[in-house]
Symmetry: C2
Subunit: 243 residues, 2 copies
Amino acid sequence: MADLVYQNIIADLKKAINAESFPSMKLPDERTLTEHYQVSRSSVKRALNVMANQGIIFKKRGSGTFINPLYLKGGSFFNYNGSNLGVTDSFKAGNRTPGIKLLDFQVIKPSAELQRDLFLKPDDFVYEIKRLRLFDDEPFMIETGFIPIKVMPELTEKIVSSSIFNYLETEKNQEVTRAFLSIFAEPSTDDDQAHLKLKPTEPVGIMEGIFFLDDGTPFEFSTMRLHYQYMKYNTFVTVSGRE
Amino acid sequence: MADLVYQNIIADLKKAINAESFPSMKLPDERTLTEHYQVSRSSVKRALNVMANQGIIFKKRGSGTFINPLYLKGGSFFNYNGSNLGVTDSFKAGNRTPGIKLLDFQVIKPSAELQRDLFLKPDDFVYEIKRLRLFDDEPFMIETGFIPIKVMPELTEKIVSSSIFNYLETEKNQEVTRAFLSIFAEPSTDDDQAHLKLKPTEPVGIMEGIFFLDDGTPFEFSTMRLHYQYMKYNTFVTVSGRE
DNA sequence: GAGTGGTCTAGACCACGAG
DNA sequence: TCGTGGTCTAGACCACTCG
């Protein structure tokens, strides 16, 4: 594990919370934690802020810091572990092994819309990559991605036939760490029904967005059309305005 | 606005970014900003952290801090302003005025699942509130909410016929600031089709989750079934592990 | 090596909640 | 009034990137 002070505090507090070491559902106050861990109060606050943003605890000025009862008890529909971006990571439902079937792979001239979204110059070209994603030979998602040639000139059919994000990490030491995502639903098209084995009354869930590299370069615009039973997006939301 | 140092820095930097005062897409380094605003570096870092979490900027150790080109240019599908929780707030599409039609309002014994989710004791009862939400007399959502009697003993049909969140804020000075949300889609039921004027092939988008008060009390479990054309959930995602 | 963001400290003072 | 979390400061040292 990392050797960062605030990360260690988080790990320790999580362990204590899971061990139900705080029967009153109240954590020690920040100054006591400062004393206990022999660190500065800033580090304690940093750790607590991260945990509050993850929904593990609630802080209440004047009263103290309290454990989210649902984190401890485990809500019915909830198993939120923070966010994952890679598809291969996100949908690890069960022991099923993920597969990829390449449907289309070509170079095209991007639409004006795509040029805006990927921050392209007028004469930049992009790859179009259409892939079917499977679990144990069962298709669950049609993914269409657009990647500028200039950010990945070496892309080949071989790379595209497995996880591009993995390739980035292992071969180029770059990571996709952020994304704008838009989530919605639509009736299934004939194409959806054929690939995902859907009835005409069954819809697709759609996750669409722009993925960024560490340095902020827009890396890919992707549209994911999912069999509706496979799309479940869990999140913890905080109203804006707060840090 | 608030008189907080870091909030002022955020406001000022946003203004400067929108005015395209940084043609290189690079912000001044933190020490320069510290000097310019005559504040501590911690405050500058705090402001920049918030903006990075909102997807406005990217920070790169050893290189500098850069503006997200899409924040400036405006992506095609994107108009992300942070998160909103209240339904009346979230769906302010256009100038259409929101309406509420009460479908059902009663007190019931919660299921075991609901007891877990709202952290209830075995003999606690809950309100069940089923409402149709409209824009200019056009229904777009069926909302079923469960609120423990003990957190809102004074609930009446009158309150329930308009925004409960507004009532909380104005009358009880409490705010719903956080929620666990789960987002998915399903084929529409006969009931959905009747209320939302959907064809049998058209689906509903579903947003379901637990809403919390400031102090961490689970306040409501709500299931929102939306006309699919009205559900569009925009978000900025960061991989977990980072602060 | 110079410049940049990341982590951490030690301490001051403020704002809110409860008794 | 007192205990709690919130904001802010001033400065040290580390880790990464790039010329």
